[in-house]
Amino acid sequence: MSDAAQVVLAPPPRAGVAGRRLTRVLEIVVALAVVVGLWQVTSITINNSTLLPSPARVFHAWLDLLHADLRQDVLASLAHLGIGYALGIATGLALAAISTRFALLESIVDPLIELLRPISAIAWIPIAILMFGISAGVPVFLIFYASLFPIFVNTVAGVKQVDAKLVHAAQMLGASRRMILTHVVMPAALPYVLAGARLSLGVAWMAMVAAELTGSDAGLGWRLFWYQEFFAMDKVMAVILTIGVLGYCFDTLLRALQARITRWSPDSVVDEAR
């Protein structure tokens, strides 16, 4: 235990950047190999391709699906996500703008948000099914609802944390109210907004899968139960992995965007405003 602590306290001498990158890639490859190996061994031991399909089977299923259903499913899910997320972000930003700008409206918007926020998107599924029927409306609504809160909460926190000194500095340099908004408040809040957008995407992705599973007639989540009907568990696994890979890619993409846009910040990736 204490040796381990030592490792943390005294980081090894730095190799070159290229060398470190290589080690990093190697570590990931080794880790993945171990997981796939364990999976393979387990599936051989169990020897039941329904209960636990082997990695090779799942990979083949995935290749087959790539030319068949999977492309449609991914497109359907991305359409749900695109529409719902865009609506959620736009509404969240608009509500945040209103509530930070007008104290009167803040006193209504804020409690409303706080009342609704504990009710997770998932809890809306039955009502959404009643409202939209089994259709794309259910995942779109759920994604919209799920992405609304993180972006709202973070944007409000971002605007409220703006350093009064920076506003004073802009004022004494002769900036107008408008310029203070565009050149001080907005850039200062930007890291929080981006962090909110990332959080929103994360919960939206989860809500999407749940909504498609239970209340949609298309998309990756819907496909899970479809294949399960035929006990095509290799295909189920292929879809599960696709969900994971896509989710990972989205998060990595947004993280990179976040780091790029807020280059000026010493700790350029602000995580949640808790």
Binding site: M1, S2, A4, A5, V7, V8, L9, P11, R24, E27, I28, V30, A31, L32, V35, T50, L51, L104, S107, I108, D110, P111, L116, P118, I119, S120, A121, I122, A123, W124, I125, P126, I127, I129, L130, W205, M206, M208, V209, A210, L213, T214, L220, G221, L224, F225, Q228, M233, V236, M237, V239, I240, L241, I243, G244, V245, L246, G247, Y248, D251
Partner: protein, 258 residues
């Protein structure tokens, strides 16, 4: 002045609720739309026949077990990842990619492996609760001020004491934050899992029915809109209480944090 500020939203919500009630009653389609007094009736009915309490406690029980499982596996792994850098570097890509899989996506596999009796839902919950523990424990164990350890050493602390009195307290706030997120995830996931199971498995064992399954039968069998709204409110209230309790716990266990 504060009282006046509270008056506006209070008035707004009172008017909104009254308007909601009036609108539904006037439309003459009470069966189609939920309305406040209807929700209240649904509440008294389900409380009296005990079905609300039974389902809620069933769901909560699964959440608690799943949460405990998530903690039991997640904290040791996370602390190990934070302490031993190579382990952390090797394991974190795996953790990250598994974390990106929405827990609920595992439901077909979980149903296959663990059956419809409720253990499938338990698997989903444990899976959801596991990752916040891992990520936060790893971060807490990794981020330690070297001066604190040196100070303890200089004061004569042995290695065991350093770990017990510096490293673990240092990681505790992060672990508790992880616990709070875990709990929230677990509560969201149990409802999702139960909904999916309720839709998939039409004749579930009645003893294992949680809030999610109750919602499905309310939707498809009883067609009771007011009931659905009631369950949503219950879900919201419970997640609010959970968050409140976790924050209290966090404050009382780490009083040195502001």
């Amino acid at each position: 002045m504060n009282a006046r500020r509270a008056l506006l939203p209070l008035g707004f919500f009172t008017v909104a609720i009254l308007a909601w009630q009036a609108a539904v009653l006037h439309s003459g389609q009470r069966a189609l739309y939920p309305y406040p007094t209807g929700v209240f009736e649904a509440a008294t009915r389900t409380i009296e026949d005990g079905s609300l309490f039974a389902a809620t406690s069933q769901s909560l029980l699964r959440v608690l077990i799943g949460f405990a499982l998530g903690a039991a596996f997640g904290i040791p792994l996370g602390v190990l990842m934070g302490f031993v850098r190579p382990v952390g570097r090797a394991v974190s890509p795996i953790v990250d990619s598994l974390r990106s899989i929405a827990p609920i996506a595992w439901i077909p596999m979980a149903l296959l492996w663990l059956g419809i009796r409720g253990n499938a839902a338990l698997f989903i919950v444990a899976y959801a609760a596991f990752f916040p523990f891992v990520v936060n424990a790893a971060q807490g164990a990794r981020l330690i001020d070297r001066n604190l350890v040196n100070a303890a050493r200089a004061l004569g602390a042995g290695r065991a004491l350093v770990v017990r009195s510096v490293v673990l307290p240092n990681a505790l706030p992060a672990i508790l934050t992880g616990a709070r997120i875990s709990m929230a995830f677990a509560w969201g996931s149990i409802i999702a899992a139960e909904l999916a199971m309720g839709i998939k498995v039409t004749s579930g064992g009645s003893g294992a029915v949680g809030l999610g399954q109750l919602m499905v039968s309310t939707l498809y069998v009883r067609r009771d809109v007011n009931g659905l709204v009631l369950y949503m409110i219950v879900i919201g209230v419970i997640s609010f209480l959970i968050d409140l309790a976790m924050r209290r716990l966090q404050r009382s266990l780490t009083p040195w944090r502001t």
